[in-house]
Symmetry: C2
Subunit: 191 residues, 2 copies
């Protein structure tokens, strides 16, 4: 029997990504977000949610696009920093020692040091409460050669992925336990 | 310099949860989803996205609510199974050997064997493409005593959390690497 500890946003691991934008003067900026998730397969789309007070909010609306830059674990400090500092008062790329790379489809700022970055075209903006939910169609996925396998597909083990537990901190990705759409077949009723 | 491998929904770890509903005849059902993410802090809210063809889609709309049941890694097979089988043709709770527990606020089906389950009241339904995005306000968080610390807060290390890599499979949560809103302070410019 479980105990009700009240409504809260904890309980499962989430992604942690740096969302890249350019402001009205074309300056690249980053904001770290964990209120993020894939939300559609066709077209491939991702939701990122943030408070209207964040500097990146107006930049996403203004540009009608954003990037999703996926850090490897060695960039944990930079990831955390970009969630604490504000682009209003500092150049986060410079302060974090990260390099801007231009996205192939929309020219959005990507982080050169990170293994994977997505470019997203803003499809929808929905107000939920404290946060607005942006849905972006993924139009490119740029990956370092070092994280692609022999068939040119992303190798999850090569990402050195960072996992986030809300209200707590950052975790390493542990060992692979099993294949999706496979291990569950063991429980399929026999016809 | 990165290589553009085209738009796709891969690149970062995601949650993997079982969404619980009751159908028009009151029968409890579960569906496994990874297109899920927290999307608001006040009120606490979560987005879950699924295809209209899924049996649970009509159940979420009909009931105006859903639960989010978070598996521990020992339930990987059951988690995968509930993403393969359909509630139209089988009782997934029975087939997976899982026990229904009733949620404290909305009476939604929770999985007794799982460490954490949320109940959510449907706030919004947005059509994105192949998937509809449901936003649910989290109204309760039910946790096993075994995953609560001495102060009654969720202990992430006790969850034995399961992490998902889209297009690949299930992973263990690895070691804790650092505290959020803390490790990034090392990079703060000195005033």
């Amino acid at each position: 029997m479980k105990k009700n500890i009240g409504p809260r946003t904890v309980g499962f691991p989430t992604p942690v990504v740096l969302v890249g934008t350019t402001d009205g003067e074309g300056r690249p900026n980053l904001v770290t977000l964990a209120w993020v998730g894939i939300c559609c397969s066709e077209p491939p789309a991702v939701q990122v949610s943030l408070r209207p007070s964040r500097y990146s909010h107006a930049a996403i609306v203004g540009r009608g696009a954003f990037s999703v830059c996926v850090p490897s674990k060695r960039y944990m400090d930079q990831t955390d920093f970009c969630g604490i500092a504000s682009g209003r008062s500092c150049d986060k790329f410079a302060a974090a020692g990260l390099t801007v790379e231009s996205g192939p489809e929309l020219g959005l700022p990507l982080v050169a040091e990170f293994p994977v970055c997505l470019e997203c075209r803003l499809l929808h903006t929905f107000t939920v409460g404290s946060h607005d939910l942006f849905v972006g169609e993924i139009v490119s996925c740029s990956a370092e050669e070092s994280v692609l396998d022999a068939r040119g597909r992303l190798d999850p083990n090569a990402l050195e992925a960072l996992v986030y537990m809300p209200g707590d901190g950052y975790y390493d990705l542990g060992p692979r336990l099993g294949s999706s759409f496979e291990v569950g077949k063991r429980l399929m009723p026999h016809e």
